[in-house]
């Protein structure tokens, strides 16, 4: 290492022979680093927002079904088959698996909600009004009326459904649903409230009914539920926790399977992968631009020092040593750039993370991949972004130094000294 010290010193001194140029180049690298880290941070922020919204609004981050339930979603495929399960016991077992934040059981079906002249086909979700808030935010989106009460024949409909049926909380509607015994379950329900998520598939096609009332309508025993929705401490641990849940619950319930959101909301997972690929491309472009900046500076400085290189060469300095002076200059420039970059980036990231820029006055809510995204510029802290960018910055400095180093080595001492 002592042997290397001299090269660092030489590089450092050479750089400060033209402080302005060095500072500008290091500044360019710093801006490159800053852009790459902040852009990746914003993009990760959007992805996180999408995944959390996509999974927390209603689906949950893990769903537990009977193996035959998906994709056909037959109403007969309840957990534990025809016998059903002890719902409370199952929920306790689910909650005990590490990484699980909350669990709630659901009964799922389809049916018609009719106000008389207008009828809308909806997906019906029977839920437990007391447990549901542990796994989803759907009840917090109620903007008119209130959520249905446990055991009541009440219904919560979406904003679009309300508009189509032209009803209001307190009105009676007819609910018709194919029942498990083949009959057409039908009954009157009172509209308790209206929710609005901004996601059309929910606002226009989903209705929520207390679990007991839906089981009665669909002629299902109280032990028969289709789904347990699970919320996690860390959404990105879904695949691992799902596997653990499947293992933990299998001895208790036949052919039970826990699926992570990356399976049942595969489009979100695909979006995350796409965003990652996009980030890589952006980082790549930013640093390709930086390469040219650094290379230009080093080329200039080696050209200015033609005579100098000719002298040291004539004095017997090896080609490798000459190349090393230039490459180390590149590296020192990289370190300078990174230092400036970190000073610039760190506070910006903290600021954007804690106090996101809200653009919702300029643009409305955006739905992407069936998930609501607020038009808010925020960043997600990640280790990957800064580390990859830092590595890229060093590689950039090295690569950018290669051509100038090659030029320096190729200077013919006699010609250069003769001023030719």
């Amino acid at each position: 290492m002592a042997g290397q010290g001299i090269w660092w010193r030489i590089a450092w001194r050479n750089l400060w022979r033209n402080p302005r140029r060095t500072l500008i180049t290091a500044g360019a690298l710093a801006v490159g680093f800053f852009s790459a880290v902040v852009i990746v941070g914003i993009s990760d922020g959007i992805t996180r927002e999408m995944v959390l919204n996509g999974t927390e609004v209603i689906t949950g981050q893990i769903q537990i079904h009977s193996r035959g339930y998906r994709p056909e979603r037959s109403i007969y495929e309840t957990l534990g088959g025809r016998e059903g399960v002890e719902v409370a016991r199952l929920l306790t077992a689910v909650s005990e698996v590490p990484g699980v934040r909350g669990a709630a059981a659901r009964v799922l079906g389809g049916g018609l909600v009719s106000s008389g002249a207008e009828t809308v086909a909806v997906g019906l979700m029977g839920f437990d009004p007391e447990l549901e808030p542990r796994v989803s935010r759907i009840l917090t989106t109620v903007f008119e009326g209130r959520p249905p009460r446990r055991g009541a024949r009440e219904i919560l409909i979406g904003y679009e459904t309300r508009r189509k049926l032209d009803v209001a909380p307190g009105d009676e509607v007819v609910l018709v649903a194919p029942a498990a015994d083949g009959s057409m379950g039908n009954d009157l329900f009172v509209i308790a409230g209206v929710f609005r998520t901004g996601i059309y598939a929910l606002d226009g096609h989903q209705a929520l009914v207390p679990m007991g009332a839906l089981q009665e309508l669909m002629v299902l025993e109280p032990s028969r539920v289709h789904e347990v929705a699970v919320a996690l401490v860390d959404a990105w641990a879904a695949t691992r926790v799902a596997a653990e849940l499947t293992t933990a619950l299998t001895p208790m319930v036949d052919s039970i399977v826990a699926e992570p959101w990356t399976d049942f909301r595969a489009e979100l997972q695909e979006y995350a992968a796409l965003a990652d690929a996009g980030n890589t491309i952006i980082v790549f472009i930013v640093f390709i631009m930086a390469i040219f900046g650094v290379a230009n500076t080093l080329l200039m400085s080696t050209y200015e020092r033609r005579r100098e290189f000719a002298v040291v060469s004539a004095l017997g300095t090896s080609r490798g040593s000459i190349a090393r002076t230039v490459v180390f200059e590149g590296l020192v420039l990289g370190i300078l750039g990174l230092t400036f970059g970190a000073v610039l980036t760190w506070p910006t990231m903290v600021w954007l993370h804690n106090d996101p820029i809200d653009l919702s006055r300029l643009v409305g809510d955006i739905t992407m991949a069936g998930s609501l995204v607020r038009p808010v510029i925020t960043v997600d802290y990640s280790v990957d972004g800064p580390v990859i960018s830092a590595v890229a910055l060093f590689v950039t400095s090295l690569v950018a130094a290669v051509f100038p180093a090659y030029r320096a080595v190729r200077i013919p001492p006699a010609d250069a000294l003769a001023g030719r």
Binding site: Y76, L112, S114, G116, A117, E118, T119, V120, A121, V174, V176, P178, A180, D181, G182, S183, M184, N186, D187, L188
Partner: protein
């Protein structure tokens, strides 16, 4: 026994009579050459068999599925192709539930809540009362000659019976969900034996078999229709006609929402 015998005798006489009429028609057809027009006529005639201009009937619908089986007793009124009311008589728990088809609309009356609801267009392909028939079947099934181009796909012997097999291809603009329908009709008595429904990729979706020929109200008709969905051949819906009267005294006014609700 005596009643059955008399019934049987009457049936034989009538079907013999019909056979001779059909034979006469056929020999004429043979002379004139059976054109596409007469293929249409035959399909139309078969299509009208169970309907007449108007009709009243009492039927049972037996539904077998993987998960349950049940039997519904139904009373049906129909007028032309556009109007029908179906009322559930049995089981008692569901008695009074009724469906009105008027033009292309379907309404259900639910006695338990005493409400009438309109079936939305998106649900027309949904099951009717849990059976393998869809609402769409109830409304559109009766318009064979309007919606399809009809050709003879096969003519000759099948298992010793002379039959036609008509190929029904939906007209381009027809609101039909099938890619193609093939219907087999026995030549000697013009009775349909089966109809096969294919999707747009040419896959067989379901088969309806006609059986138990009987004379009702002076007509020879198949009194059972069995629908078997191809994706689950252990399931089926069978409609059995017990009584049927044709050309009854009924008009459009009968097919109203008010009448749908009325309990007899």
């Amino acid at each position: 026994m005596a009643i059955i015998d008399r019934h049987e005798r009457r049936r034989r006489v009538l079907s013999a009579l019909r056979v001779s009429v059909v034979t006469l028609t056929l020999s004429l057809a043979g002379v004139l050459g059976l054109s596409a027009q007469s293929a249409r006529d035959i399909v139309d005639q078969v299509d009208r068999l169970l309907r007449g201009e108007s009709s009243w009937s009492r039927v049972t619908m037996e539904i077998e599925t993987e998960h349950w089986s049940r039997s519904l007793g139904l009373e049906v009124w129909s007028l032309g192709v556009d109007y029908a009311i179906v009322r559930v008589l049995e089981p008692l728990r569901e008695a009074g539930t009724a469906t009105l088809m008027a033009d292309e609309e379907v309404w259900n009356y639910l006695p338990r809540v005493d409400r009438t609801i309109k079936v939305p267009p998106s649900l027309m392909m949904g099951s009717w009362m849990g059976s393998h028939f869809t609402h769409d079947d109830l409304v559109k099934e009766s318009r064979m000659i309007e919606d399809y181009d009809i050709e003879i796909g096969f003519e000759g012997d099948r298992d010793g019976v002379t039959v036609w097999e008509f190929e029904l291809t939906p007209k381009p603009e027809a609101p039909v969900v099938w890619g193609r329908v093939v219907q087999q009709v026995r030549k000697d008595d013009m009775m349909p034996t089966w109809a096969r429904y294919y999707d747009e990729d040419g896959g067989l979706v379901r088969t309806i078999r006609f059986g138990e020929l009987e004379v009702h109200d002076g007509r020879l008709i198949p009194t059972t229709l069995t629908l078997r969905p191809e994706d689950n051949p252990s399931e089926s819906t069978t409609v059995t006609y017990h009584e049927i009267d044709f050309d009854i005294d009924i008009d459009v006014d009968f097919f109203s929402l008010r009448n749908l609700r009325a309990r007899r």
